[in-house]
């Protein structure tokens, strides 16, 4: 893949109830540039089981929470986070 590639490839991590709904804990997605966290979310929501997710879940890029309009680079790690319940 060259710097001029018109797609970005990202790894998408799913957790807890979201992983159950989609039947997967990890996806690899290819997205057309320019890609954002929202692009990932739109694809995830369209997958089988994706309708069970909330429209605006917490999102993280490379292990840091980030807003939906955050641009993505090739190789980014994206996470779609169910409501947090630690502590």
């Amino acid at each position: 893949m060259t710097p001029t590639s018109d797609v970005v490839t990202v790894q998408v991590l799913l957790f807890a109830r979201f992983a159950e709904l989609l039947g997967a804990e990890r996806l690899v997605l290819e997205l057309p540039r320019p890609a954002t966290l929202q692009s990932v979310l739109d694809r995830v929501l369209a997958l089988p089981g994706g309708a069970g997710l909330p429209a605006r879940p917490l999102l993280a890029r490379n292990q840091t929470q980030a807003p939906p309009d955050t641009p993505l680079e090739d190789g980014d790690e994206v996470a779609v986070l169910p409501p947090l319940a630690g502590g």
Partner: protein, 152 residues
Amino acid sequence: MPFLRESPLDLTGLIAAVTSPERGGIASFLGLVRDHHGGRAVQRLEYSAYAPMAEKECAAILAEAHERWPMAQVALEHRVGALEIGDAAVAVAAAAPHRDEAFSACRYVIEEVKRRVPIWKREYYADGTVGWVDPTAPGGAVPARPEAGQAS
């Protein structure tokens, strides 16, 4: 020093880790697994985490506490995996020269852990159903419908 632990938490060890001859006030918090939630009897539960992000968030929270209360030293552990009723899920110890800083730092850390650290809790109820806890759900955190038959 990972913040996420698969073995029982050790508050005494955390307190010892933050104590020093200058820091005479130590506030601590221990969150234990309760036997009920939202009116339902809980038998056991499982915590899972997005581990690398959870570790980063915990480190960031402690760094923030140290910035806000420079004289305070805070330690934190969160359990993951299978827990029984009464097990410690989270432990925080904050030592400072004066108790006001110790309480403030301790409280800050536990609040931020609950707010920001990517950890999830699956409860196993006495009636055989299971549910993912959702503190943001209106009307309570427990799923209204049993999920026992749900594919995983």
